[in-house]
């Protein structure tokens, strides 16, 4: 589930508020969106993909954590923005779709591409 909206990184564009398919965020009075309905998060990672400044972190567990993970550690490990990087979104990156040639599921068959 969504665990972090980084106050340090957020530029207040409200893209996450707009694109979340389950309407988890509210716009914040101070410009930083709030995680208003965490229980509705479906752990789809798409807010992360759309965040232009890598300010969001979605934990892969589909239940809330007792407390949010350590933002500095995630930033240091390169985890913030990792999914966006992997799918090749953002200026100057190659779209991940262009590189998406996986293994063949049976070894005589064609490669998997998604």
């Amino acid at each position: 589930m969504i665990e972090i909206v980084s106050r340090e990184r957020c530029v207040g564009c409200d893209k996450c508020v707009e694109v979340c398919p389950t309407n988890v965020f509210d716009t914040g009075a101070d410009g930083v969106p709030s995680i208003a309905r965490q229980d509705d998060c479906q752990t789809c990672f798409l807010c992360e993909a759309y965040c232009p400044v890598d300010a969001l972190f979605v934990d892969p567990r589909s239940h809330p954590l007792p407390q949010p993970p350590d933002e500095r550690a995630l930033a240091a490990a390169g985890t913030l923005g990792a999914y966006r990087r992997q799918i090749g979104w953002g200026r100057g990156r190659t779209p991940g779709a262009r590189l998406a040639v996986g293994p063949a599921l049976n070894r005589s068959g064609p490669p998997l591409t998604s």
Binding site: C20, P21, Q42, F45, L46, P60, V101, G102, L112, S114
Partner: protein, 532 residues
């Protein structure tokens, strides 16, 4: 002309309303607009991120128009599907999918990978990339898009023909109404809020709306899809588990367990004990390629410090109901019309038996069906609206919603209670997956009780109103599923009955289901012909 500025208003008119903004809805909106229709698309989430495809990505049933290749593609799953699919529909889906995928390359500039022969490989789509580009195309086609706007009910004219829909605006607030010449339901299947990747918006709302308008469903017994995911996570990307070995907690191999054949062994074991997994049958090259093909597959591992190629990790099975099953609204014509005038169905909201029969449409077939049926439904709806003429969107309408929106008694029930009661009968593996008449019958009885209670007392205001409708839709869906599962007293396709092993040649037909307070089933007699 409708003033585009009214897109933020609450009372719109259009030639075609599309409910749902996944791939089927997006294609329906584009193709209706290209046919000259004035189109509104309303999605409960956001066109571009909503639904099972956007978050996941999918293979696509894309086959070169070579007769031998097409023949092999059609023949490959006919047996698995219990011989309930239709060759003519398969052929036209292959044709339409080929055309639409080529449009994705040429019009939307989708960045397909390039093979060693220098040609693009167009057999798969990354979800976020695909649906981001579809949003762009929908908007460029002039479609008015209402995001965060769940449809909650259909509207009908005096004759009973569908004439629009109404819903709630979750972020803007208030309600909306769109009167239209025709409506396309592209609201997805139903996964019962199981947290399967991207599926929490798929609560079967469209099937409820369709049934309230008098439409029929088909194939609802093919609704027991469960996907493998790392335990406690949402990531139901299952392809790479074909490289996995499954283990018991003590480290011994779980005999017979597998991703494709043997998933039921995993389910049976999970009833009593954990099941562990390791992706230990992939070569180093294959492992590297997996990361390129499906970056989202690795999110649960990377973020929990698990090396899936070396470490044992616990897995679970998440319900995908009719998202990966094949049941849905019955199609009665080549334009994806239904038995109700003015109402069209596309994507996972519609039955996919026409191309899959009774075996999961998950992945490539569902993706092909979404873009093909979306295309036909959009074009068909545009034609229907045009034939009605300009006054169609100004017809006097009446709302059709009942359960969860107009209770018979005093509203006293919370949608959360209803959802919990439905999930308790649908999610357990020993009820829906490992089917037996002795367990299906009491589950259906409990669901019927839930239905009676919600008919009497479920409603809600604002956001809770939309939730109440989704809860009612899930209850209806589960009842159609189990009624059909009990009626099909055999094993066919993915519908496997422990008490009725083996196929019964006398039941080689599709099963039509319908009704709300009283549910009925009957064998299909007339098949939707392809020729218009």
């Amino acid at each position: 002309m409708t003033d585009p500025s009214t897109a933020t208003g609450t009372d719109l008119t259009a030639d075609v309303l599309v409910a749902g903004g996944g791939p089927a809805g997006a294609w329906a909106a584009v193709k209706a607009a290209e046919a000259g229709a004035n189109v509104v698309l309303a999605d409960k989430g956001y066109l571009g991120t909503s639904g099972a495809t956007a978050a996941a990505g999918t293979g696509v049933w894309y086959v070169e128009p070579d007769p031998a290749a097409r023949e092999a593609a059609m023949a490959s799953r006919e047996g698995l599907g219990g011989h309930l699919a239709d060759r003519a529909w398969m052929a036209r889906v292959l044709d339409q999918t080929y055309a639409n995928m080529n449009e994705l390359a040429e019009i939307s500039k989708y960045p397909f990978p390039v093979g060693p022969d220098g040609r693009q490989i167009r057999r798969g789509l990354q979800g976020p990339e695909y649906m981001r580009r579809m949003r762009v195309r929908v908007r460029r086609a002039g479609v008015r898009v209402l995001d965060h706007s769940p449809v909650t009910e259909l509207l009908a004219d005096g004759s009973g023909a569908v004439a629009g829909a109404a819903g709630r605006r979750l972020r803007a607030g208030g309600e909306f109404r769109v009167r239209a010449g025709a409506v396309v339901l592209a609201t997805g299947g139903c996964a019962f809020l199981s947290r399967a990747l991207g599926c929490d918006v798929n609560t079967g709302d469209g099937a409820l709306f369709a049934a309230e308008a008098g439409a029929e469903l088909s194939g609802m017994e093919f609704s027991n899809a469960y996907a493998i995911a790392p335990a406690f996570t949402s990531v139901t990307k299952t392809a790479f588990y074909s490289f996995a070995t499954f283990y018991r907690a003590d480290g011994t191999v779980l005999e017979g367990a597998g991703s494709q054949k043997g998933r039921s062994v995993i389910a049976r074991t999970l009833l009593d004990e954990p099941v562990l997994c390791r992706i230990d049958r992939a070569t180093p090259d294959e492992r590297a390629a997996m990361r390129l093909a499906q970056p989202n597959f690795f999110l649960p591992f990377d973020r929990q410090g698990i090396d899936p190629f070396h470490d044992l990790f616990p897995v679970t099975l998440l319900a995908e109901g009719t998202v990966r099953g094949t049941g849905g609204i019955r199609i009665t014509g080549p334009d994806c019309s239904t038995s109700v005038p003015g109402l069209y169905a596309a994507g996972d909201a519609a039955t996919r038996e026409l191309i899959c029969g009774g075996f999961t449409g998950g992945g490539s077939h569902n993706a092909a069906w979404a873009m093909s049926s979306g295309t036909w439904a959009g074009q068909g709806a545009a034609r229907h609206a045009a034939a009605l003429g300009g006054g169609a969107a100004r017809r006097r309408t009446r709302p059709l919603g009942a359960a969860g929106i107009r209770p018979a008694g005093r509203p006293a029930l919370d949608h959360r209670e209803v959802t919990a009661a439905v999930r308790a009968e649908v999610l357990p593996y020993d009820k829906n997956y490992l089917r037996h008449g002795d367990r299906l019958a009491p589950a259906l009885a409990a669901l019927d009780d839930t239905w009676r209670a919600l008919r009497d007392g479920l409603a809600g205001a604002g956001v809770d109103g939309a939730r109440a409708r989704s809860a009612a839709a899930m209850a209806a869906h589960a009842r159609w599923m189990y009624r059909a599962a009990l009626a099909r007293t055999e094993t066919r396709g993915m519908h496997k009955r422990e008490d009725r092993p083996g196929a019964d040649p006398a039941q080689h037909f599709r099963l039509v289901t319908g009704g709300l307070d009283e549910i009925w089933t009957r064998p299909e007699t007339a098949v939707a012909a392809v020729a218009p």
